[in-house]
Amino acid sequence: MNIPVELKYTRSHEWIRAETDGTITVGISDHAQELLGDLVFIELPEVGRELTAEQEAAVVESVKAAADVYAPVSGTVVEVNLALADAPEQINQDAYAAWLFRMKPTTPSDLDALLDADAYQQLLAAL
């Protein structure tokens, strides 16, 4: 299973990359895309939307399931990956390149509570 060490993760299978400008980039893990199968539709949040941690932020839909993507921490949506709208299969091709949205966290230290690659690996092993 592909779990890049430089990323953080959630129990609900989002990945998070801390950017140098203080924002974070969010996507779904390789495990999540594999579970969902061929994705057919992505619903993205509006830029500027305020989200609290674990609030529904986006929806990823395959032919057999639809899953909510949650905000990993509280913050504001600053950018969304519009390219996914026409090509949701990018997530199946490379889940870590096909990001969904970027956020400006309200409290940057909230990121410390997220899982690291090892912890996420263990979580998957326990499923």
Binding site: D38, V40, F41, E43, E61, S62, V63, K64, A65, A66, D68, P88, E89
Partner: protein, 968 residues
């Protein structure tokens, strides 16, 4: 040769075979039952039942239903009841207009088991016929409403309006909790909206369309033409509501829209209504298809099923249900709605009405209806009678003051039902069956004058003030070739047959869908539904004309009370999901009546069907999930803990029994007791009631309210995806809180209590099916049916266990009426999935069992009692041969991606493929067992590409392209 000695001759009682129908309904005969019992290692049916159904919940007395009746006698008895209905020419309107079902459609669709015994088209490769019919229906709705996307039908106009309201809330950018309702909406629509709005915590605001402009609302519903018949341009009010962020829905009439400007053209976001008057009988309220259309941008917020176009493995055009992940079986409490069932059979009839008549024929019918209404209006005007509506399509309102009552009665005596709108005011709605003679008679009755209708007609040909040109549509409708080809009866007959041939229904083979109960739909049960005495009664006809209906419904309700052990039956809900809603509404009202409005927690086991959480959400309840143990049973400790934790807020538990895992849980009474201890009520999902009838009952296990899927347990056919009927049974303390009806008040529930469906007794015209079934089976036959359903399931489980693990069994190793086969180990070792097996079964002439419910990666088989041992053995042989095929993949004889399973289903295109280079023969592909060749069902398309279809969503008729057709 000796003649038989007199003493060996059977008695007259034996010759009369009064229980003959039981043996027609139930598959295995006595000798087969003995053989099957031997196979499963049970000495008798009674021993099997003792090992299956916990003794603590067994009924101790036989069902007090009466003796079985022969088919002819039951039909005669029902006919006598039906004759107590009086068929009049109903001109009541209110969304129900009499119609002429084209005879070729009546006989070849409505009365044809090839159409009515099919299931919802989940296995699209063997459902291309009705999928095409539904696509025609969607195209018709799109054309007439002027919107971009239509679903494949909802249950009735009133609930469609309620769906529009909740959809408006989902997509509107307004933060308001208020919804505007045109005071000119049909009263039953407003009744249902009130019920729904209360639990969503929406405030309804009423007024004329013009008054909507001043309101801050998240959406609005207008009626067009309105309840009084008035037709007006709604563009202004629509624009006004939209300018403030509101979503506008228009409830409308397809026949009027043949002539009138479309809601889409006037700017509406949603259009909805009933498709009944396109050839579907009145039937005292249903079943009818409700149409629902919207703009493309809202497609993912649309409730109900949508048919879409995709391609198959050969790149050929193929149809299937699109956007299924929005449905409650995936989204649970986040689903757009709890709606599962649609009204496929009725939507198909409506679509075929348009195919048969075409745009010109429909125009003639609509113009004729309008002309008759205009003649009536003009005739009355010339006689100085006040005709309310200025612009109208087919409905007039006349103010007769003190004369109204005598005119109403004179009309009834002459064979006409008019609408009593208010004291002094009558409504008259013209329909397709109305004639010029009817109009002359009505003018004479109302005005006392004889008019020269021909002279009046000449005037109206020159100028028709009742429908100015500005209100008429200018765009072309139904231009697709399918609506312009089938004018002659031969063409129509052959088109219907062509579509029917693509669909696998119960007239071909067993459909062993777990949880769906595809039992026999006997011809003698079906025959009464099209008798005029049942088919041609308006839902709001005076009740003295519907005494036969009331008697039949009353007798059926009495039987259902005996079977369920409940005290009261509410016949209103049109589907199981609507029954759930009606039941939870009753529970919520009950708690509120005791001042306990805070009770809003609904406990739902993890194994529950997705409709349960979706329904709880619609009732304003919060879902708390209860765990299941490894054996698939509810975790009693977890339940007790959660019930205690939420005791002060506990509203109810929703439980399916036997469980969705197909097991009679021994602890069910303890489970119900825990909930009651903490002040909660128990709702039993009746999906599996067929495993209880005569052996146990919902009331006995401890439930307070439960729905009954009459389309499963009591033989109403699935219609290819609807109709259904989901009446609820309630214990006495909940009975006052069941649905009432504002137009036709019902005895029992509190007065003025809101409705859950448009018609007072739901889809009343299909209740004779269940009446016939119960009458012909009697108490003993019903109980025997349940026993054999359990035997058949255990027989399949035992025969397939060596080949596929059976996932859940009770404490004594038995399953209930269905069994779950675990495909996950095979998938892990070979990559062959439950879907591959489902598709491969088509090559063997079978519809797949339920796939991936209630457990992903499994198949749930429910044979029902109506399958003979021979049919079960054919299915078992097919499943075992498929297992051998999988073994060849396991052993590496066939590549994991090129074998008869992954390539299934196989079509005639495969058979004639000149470039066939697969590792298996064409013989193995299409005739895998000897029995197949004798009765081959040919899937009309290869495996359908769902991903392609959902990524390139297209939900209307595809323009005919010669090259595409040629490739097929």
């Amino acid at each position: 040769m000796d003649s038989p000695s007199p003493c060996t001759r059977p008695s007259l009682a034996a010759l009369e075979q009064r229980d003959d129908f039981i043996g027609r309904h139930i598959g295995p005969a006595a000798t087969e039952i003995a053989a099957m019992l031997a196979t499963i290692g049970a000495s008798s049916i009674e021993q099997l039942l003792a090992q299956t159904v916990p003794a603590t919940i067994r009924l101790t007395t036989p069902l007090a239903i009466g003796e079985p009746r022969p088919e002819g006698e039951a039909l005669a008895a029902l006919r006598a009841i039906a004759r107590r209905n009086r068929v009049q020419h109903s001109m009541i309107g209110m969304g129900y207009a009499d119609t002429q079902t084209p005879a070729v459609v009546l006989r070849n669709v409505l009365e044809n088991p090839g159409w009515y015994t099919a299931y919802t088209p989940y296995q699209a490769e063997i459902a291309q016929g009705r999928l095409e019919a539904l696509l025609n229906y969607q195209q018709m709705v799109i054309d007439l409403t002027g919107l971009e996307l239509a679903n494949a039908s909802l249950l009735d106009e009133a609930t469609a309006a309620a769906e529009a309201m909740s959809m408006a809330r989902r997509v509107s950018r307004s933060g308001s909790k208020r919804f505007f309702v045109d005071a000119g909406c049909f009263p039953q629509t407003i009744d249902v909206l009130k019920t729904r709005a209360a639990f969503f915590d929406f405030e309804l605001v009423y007024g004329t369309p013009d008054e909507a402009a001043q309101q801050d609302v998240f959406g609005a519903l207008f009626q067009y033409p309105d309840d009084a018949g008035e037709v007006r341009d709604l563009s202004g009010p629509i624009a006004a509501v939209k300018s403030r962020g509101g979503i506008v829905a228009v409830a409308t009439d397809l026949m009027a829209l043949v002539l009138l400007r479309s809601p889409g053209d006037m700017g509406a976001d949603i259009a909805l209504g009933s498709a009944q008057r396109f050839g579907v009988p009145l039937g005292f309220g249903g079943p009818h298809a409700a149409f629902f259309a919207t703009r493309d941008e809202y497609k993912r917020s649309l409730a109900g099923r949508i048919i879409g176009v995709s391609i198959d493995a050969r790149g050929k055009r193929a149809l299937r249900m699109a956007l299924q992940t929005r449905e409650q079986h995936i989204r649970r409490e986040k689903a757009n709605s709890n709606i599962c069932t649609s009204q496929v059979l009725l939507a198909n009839i409506a679509g075929m009405y348009a195919v048969y008549h075409g745009p010109q024929g429909l125009r003639t019918i609509a113009e004729r209806i309008h002309r008759l209404a205009a003649l009536l209006g003009e005739g009355l005007r010339q006689a100085s009678i006040d005709v309310g509506s200025r612009h109208f399509f087919d409905t007039l309102r006349i103010d007769l003051g003190a004369r109204a009552a005598s005119v109403y009665q004179a009309a009834v005596d002459a064979g006409y039902n008019l609408r009593r709108v208010a004291p002094g005011v009558l409504g008259i709605a013209v329909n397709e069956k109305t004639t010029g003679r009817d109009i002359s008679t009505l003018i004479r009755l109302i005005s006392g004058r004889e008019l020269d209708l021909d002279a009046l007609d000449s005037q109206l040909q020159a100028v028709d003030p009742s429908l100015p040109i500005a209100l008429l549509r200018r765009d072309a409708i139904l231009t697709h070739p399918v609506f312009n080809t089938h004018r002659t009866e031969h063409q129509m007959l052959r088109y219907l047959k062509q579509l029917q041939n693509r669909d696998l229904a119960l007239d071909h083979s067993m459909i062993s869908l777990g949880s769906c109960t595809m039992k026999l739909n006997a011809s003698s049960e079906m025959i009464p539904i099209t008798w005029p005495e049942f088919a041609d009664i308006h839902p709001f006809a005076p009740l003295d004309q519907a005494q036969g209906y009331l008697q039949m419904i009353g007798e059926l309700a009495a039987w259902l009370r005996v079977i369920t052990g409940f005290d009261a039956i509410c016949m209103q809900p049109n589907s199981g999901a609507q029954g759930e809603y009606a039941g939870l509404v009753a529970i919520a009202r009950y708690h509120a009546s005791r001042g306990e409005t805070q009770r809003k927690v609904c406990l739902i086991p993890k194994s529950a069907h997705g409709t349960n959480p979706a329904t709880a959400q619609m009732c304003g309840m919060r879902v708390v999930v209860v765990d299941c143990d490894d054996a698939g049973n509810i975790d009693l400790a977890d339940l007790a803990a959660k019930a205690a934790l939420h005791a002060a807020h506990l509203a109810c538990l929703m439980i399916t029994y036997p469980s969705t895992h197909g097991v009679f849980e021994a602890s069910v009474r303890d489970i119900c007791a825990v909930v009651h201890e903490h002040g909660g009520q128990v709702y039993m999902d009746g999906a599996n009631l067929n495993a209880q009838v005569g052996l146990t009952s919902p009331a006995l296990i401890g439930a307070d309210v439960s729905h009954m899927n009459l389309h499963k347990t009591f033989c109403i056919p699935h219609g290819g995806g609807g109709p259904g009927m989901g009446p609820i049974g309630l214990k006495a303390h909940l009975a006052p809180f069941m649905a009432n009806h504002c137009v036709q008040p019902i005895d029992g529930p509190h007065a003025g209590q809101g409705a859950v469906a448009a018609a007072p007794w739901g889809s009343a015209s299909i209740l004779p099916i269940s009446w016939m079934y119960i009458a012909m089976m009697g108490g003993s036959g019903l109980t025997h049916a349940t026993s054999v359903a359990i035997l058949n399931a255990n027989y399949i489980a035992r025969c397939l266990q060596p080949h596929y693990p059976v996932l859940y069994t009770g404490s004594e190793g038995r399953v209930a009426h269905e069994c779950i086969l675990d495909i996950r180990p095979l998938k892990a070792s070979t990559g062959i999935s439950e879907t591959d097996i489902a598709k491969r079964l088509m090559d063997y002439g079978f519809h797949a069992p339920t796939v991936s419910f209630p457990v992903a990666g499994t198949m749930m088989v429910e044979p029902t009692e109506s399958e003979s041992k021979a049919e079960l053995d054919r299915f078992i042989a097919a499943m075992i041969r498929i297992r051998e095929e999988i073994r060849r993949v396991e052993l590496g004889h066939w590549p994991a991606d090129d074998n008869p399973l992954k390539r299934a289903p196989h079509t005639q295109a495969d058979l004639v493929d000149e470039h066939w280079q697969r590792p298996y023969s064409r013989q193995e592909a299409v005739f895998p067992l000897p029995y197949v060749a004798g009765n081959k069902f040919w899937p009309s398309v290869n495996r359908i590409d769902d991903v392609h279809g959902d990524r390139h969503l297209f939900c209307a008729c595809v323009p005919i392209d010669e090259s595409e057709e040629g490739r097929g």
